[in-house]
């Protein structure tokens, strides 16, 4: 097995300066005060990652700081992962403006970054008469937002296209071309591409304080030392209010709500082919069954609950029972015994805008600090948000000169999969998802540092046995590559060490 730390120094392929490597890279405390960035993005969720990548087109020194060990480890990994058509946002809102053109942007990025993006159709279902007005309103919103191709279908036609749907279905609004992605994989690819264009990324680096200086620079204090920057973009997701209070913007409040998801075994990949929403009128409830980009079936989200904190992603018995009951409303023969995993995600709504709209704007104290208060649909809006923030940075005084040598494409190592071959030639480690040893080692080489990190990049451990057979080997690969003891390997960062030594 190759030793990655040596490998990195030789070939320079390792893109990330994770926190533990700061001293090697010469960016730690004492010396760090000399390192000055033009822009520091706080948070490497899908929004921060997208912004970093778009900023890396320009001649400026940029960095992202992220508390988790990998991009997309926060709310990004627990989102519905559809690139919606623009019919969920009321016309005239910022969210509607930023979601426009999302699918085109994702299609282009998918080619450039070689990350999976697929499209499928969507039915907004009316299962009872009270659903019809809401369903029609969504269609109207979509059309006012410039989308076309919405079709009203009778129940019988819905059933002809999706035979598993509840036979009580009255009608539906159908539209094609809804995107599906796996957001953590995208966040990773975006940061990777940004780094290959000169951006810096610091993981496992939690921001603990921000100070303004007389020299016009901000000092960002983190758990791993300080970083200085001329501009700050607060893309901390559900923790954006906390970061805002560090820059002196105390009036921001985020109301959190938690939705629950369940994922089904891939044997049911063809049970439904389209995204099936119920067009109920209550914004505090979301009821959806649909495919995922990787061929599973996903069920969510139930009536949103208020979590105890931004970290409170527990799944409760009531939520599970509720989403199953709601799922059976849509697909009566839902194969509940083949649920392979479930999880919860938290979204937020800010107090500055009406009706749950996004708020993206300067700090009250400085036009060099921008706060992003994003709710749902954050993944869909992320390309639009990136463009919008770059405009705000420019207006705020950042000079933006395009790089001559920006490389928009990402080399995806073909690992074991021969082009055009259905099966890999390689040692299969994850038997449920057929992930090979080379794919896993490639992910570790690219910067996966934890068991969940490997999982989000390769799907190893994401299948029906949930790592029952492969986790031990993944721990061993991580341990060998990182040169640390297996007992030091974590599931998802410090404090989540998975195994203990025998004494």
């Amino acid at each position: 097995m190759k030793n990655i730390s040596e490998d990195r120094e030789k070939s320079g392929i390792f893109p990330f300066n994770s926190a533990c490597d700061c001293d090697k890279e010469g960016i730690r405390d004492g010396e760090l005060s000399k390192a000055v960035f033009d822009v520091v993005v706080i948070g490497a969720g899908i929004v921060g990652s997208m912004l970093l990548r778009e900023l890396s087109r320009f001649e400026c020194e940029i960095a992202v700081v992220e508390q988790f060990p990998q991009p997309g480890f926060g709310v990004t990994k627990s989102s519905l992962s559809y690139i919606h058509r623009n019919h969920f946002n009321p016309p005239g809102t910022l969210a509607a403006k930023l979601c426009a053109g999302a699918r085109k942007a994702f299609r282009k990025l998918s080619d450039e970054l070689r990350v999976d993006y697929k499209e499928t159709g969507e039915f907004l279902l009316a299962l009872e008469p009270s659903h019809i007005p809401q369903m029609m309103k969504r269609k109207q919103w979509g059309e006012q937002n410039g989308e076309t191709g919405f079709r009203i279908m009778k129940g019988s036609e819905v059933l002809r296209r999706e035979p598993e749907v509840n036979p009580a279905v009255l009608s539906a609004v159908y539209s094609s071309g809804h995107g599906m992605i796996y957001p953590p994989e995208w966040a990773f690819a975006l940061v990777e591409n940004a780094c290959s264009n000169g951006a810096h990324a610091f993981f496992g680096t939690k921001v603990i304080g921000i100070a303004g200086n007389d020299d016009g620079l901000f000092t960002i204090h983190t758990g791993n030392g300080t970083i200085r920057s001329r501009f700050i973009v607060n893309a901390a997701g559900n923790k954006a209010a906390k970061i805002a209070s560090m820059t002196g913007d105390d009036g921001i409040e985020l109301t959190l709500s938690r939705g629950t998801f369940a994922i089904f075994d891939k044997i049911h990949s063809s049970l439904v082919r389209n995204i099936l929403y119920v067009g109920g009128g209550d914004p505090a409830v979301s009821q959806v069954v649909g495919p995922t980009v990787s061929g599973n079936l996903i069920l969510g989200l139930g009536s949103f609950k208020t979590p105890d904190s931004t970290e409170d992603t527990k799944v409760t018995r009531e939520s599970l029972d509720e989403i199953i009951a709601m799922g059976r409303d849509i697909v009566p023969d839902l194969p509940v015994t083949d649920i392979i995993t479930f999880f919860a995600g938290i979204k937020s709504v800010n107090n500055l805008e009406e009706g749950g709209d996004f708020h993206i704007g300067y700090s009250d104290l400085s036009r060099r600090v921008i706060h992003l208060l994003i709710g749902s649909p954050g993944v869909t809006a992320s390309p639009g948000i990136a463009r919008h923030v770059i405009d705000l940075l420019s207006d705020g005084g950042l000079s933006l000169v395009e790089k001559k040598l920006f490389d928009s494409s990402r080399e995806k190592k073909e690992d074991d999969w021969d082009k055009g071959q259905k099966w890999p030639c390689g040692r299969i480690v994850c038997r449920c998802e057929n992930v090979t040893e080379a794919t896993i080692q490639n992910a570790i080489e690219r910067g996966a540092r934890t068991i969940d990190g490997v999982k989000h990049l390769t799907r190893a451990g994401m299948g029906r046995c949930q790592g029952g057979f492969c986790e031990g080997r993944i721990i061993r690969y991580l341990s060998e590559a990182l040169g640390i003891e297996p007992t030091e390997i974590t599931k998802k960062g410090e404090g989540s060490e998975q195994i203990k030594g025998m004494e």
């Binding site: 649920i339 030639c425 390689g426 029952g468 989540s496």
Partner: protein
């Protein structure tokens, strides 16, 4: 495309026994495939004793039991392709196997499915709560300890009193871990009685019957679990909730036959066993494809698994030599009173046939009958202990003449 007489998928106890028997019956052209780096399957991590009591009249460890078959396979020079995963099985007995060097297609005259089983997970039994480190299935923890030499944690709660769960309770206690409780939702232990006595009682590990785990707590590492008693409706009673502090939750909540390839090939499945429908030579509904061991139905004793491997191998040898009659629909077993599952599900061939039966509910002394062709008295019957009922060859002959479809009801009547 490589032509092959017999492919055996899986080099665990079923696959190894099948390979040995097939070679002894004169089949030359055999390949055994296994994903792991060494043959023996799950036996390699079962370092406790209790293997081979029926077959060898000896009390062996798992690796010792496996070694006897591995030695035979080597002596008979049966090729075993290790580190090789069969990733596709087509209807026409064509399989695709991949390893570090190549992906190859084999066209086989017969195939024996011996892929074993996997464990049900925390998600499959839907235990709510957080998603921290420190949650293991019992078999995964067993591999971690006995093969890799690490511990899953120091202070442990085990949900489910399946055999692996109870054996791991003892194993962890022996390594100095504190096993706080084994929690079982039923009012009886899920595994063999001998394991309850030797693994829990002898180590003073509490077995909480009629309880379940209703929540997992801890953001990064398991900090505690909530347990509740089960009410009469089979639901946890939240009013009885109490927390047990621990850093690890082990799950022994059932095994699932690993039949993804079987399904891929469109082979008919039995919902009660989670395995294929087979006849009394363990041939599936697809001619030339056989199934044996835990991939067919989860056994509690390895000796039966080896026996099934041999039955399947004899059947496969018969198919390869062309001495068996065309695949036909024979007499089918149906579950009568208090019967959960029966393997094989039908009789098509005239040969002595061991039936493996599981009951639905525990009973005292009972009479097990298969129509009027076999009967047996048992002192007790428990869902956790498979009952073997042998049907004599001459009864099978009588049953199959004249040919035609029919059913035989299997019953367990308490006496």
């Amino acid at each position: 495309m490589i032509d092959l007489d017999l492919a055996v998928i899986g080099a665990g106890p079923a696959g190894l026994a099948a390979a040995v028997r097939a070679r002894k019956e004169g089949i030359r052209d055999i390949v055994v495939f296994d994903r792991d780096d060494r043959p023996g399957g799950i036996l390699n991590q079962c370092i406790h004793t209790g293997f081979g009591l029926l077959r060898f009249d000896e009390d062996l460890t798992g690796p010792e039991y496996a070694y006897r078959f591995v030695t035979e396979v080597n002596r008979l020079k049966v090729p075993v392709e290790l580190g090789t995963a069969v990733v596709e099985l087509a209807k026409d007995r064509i399989l695709t196997a991949v390893n570090g060097k190549k992906a190859s297609k084999y066209r086989c005259r017969a195939i024996i499915l011996a892929m074993g089983c996997r464990e049900r997970t925390r998600n499959a039994v839907m235990i709510p709560g957080t998603r921290p480190a420190g949650i293991f299935t019992a078999g995964k923890a067993q591999r971690l300890m006995n093969i890799d030499g690490y511990l899953p944690g120091k202070s442990i709660v085990i949900l489910g009193s399946g055999d692996i769960g109870m054996i791991m309770a003892r194993r962890l206690a022996l390594e100095g871990c504190e096993v706080k409780a084994v929690v079982e939702k039923n009012l009886y232990a899920g595994g063999l009685i001998r394991n309850k006595v030797q693994c829990l009682d002898d180590f003073s590990i509490p077995l909480l019957l009629g309880h379940t785990v209703t929540a997992i707590h801890g953001e990064y590492r398991v900090e505690k679990v909530t347990i509740c008693t089960m009410n009469e409706g089979g639901e946890p009673d939240e009013r009885t909730a109490k927390d047990i502090e621990c850093d690890t939750l082990l799950l022994s909540v059932g095994l699932i036959p690993e039949n993804e390839l079987t399904r891929m090939a469109g082979i008919g499945m039995d919902r009660s066993t989670g395995g294929a429908f087979v006849d009394n030579i363990l041939e599936t509904e697809t001619e030339g494809v056989f199934s044996c061991g835990n991939v067919l139905h989860v056994s509690d004793i390895v000796d039966y698994v080896s026996l099934e491997g041999e039955i399947a191998a004899s059947g496969a040898a018969g198919r390869i030599r062309g001495v068996l009659s065309e695949k036909r629909y024979g007499k089918r077993f149906v579950s009568g009173r208090n019967i959960r599952q029966i393997v094989p599900q039908s009789i098509t061939q005239e040969r002595e046939t061991p039936l493996f039966i599981r009951v639905q509910e525990p009973t005292g002394p009972a009479r097990i009958t298969a129509g009027d062709i076999a009967r047996k008295r048992v002192p007790v019957a428990r869902p956790s202990e498979m009952i073997e009922l042998t049907i004599e060859k001459k009864k099978c002959q009588k049953l199959l003449r004249p040919p035609g479809e029919g059913t035989i009801e299997v019953n367990c009547r308490e006496e």
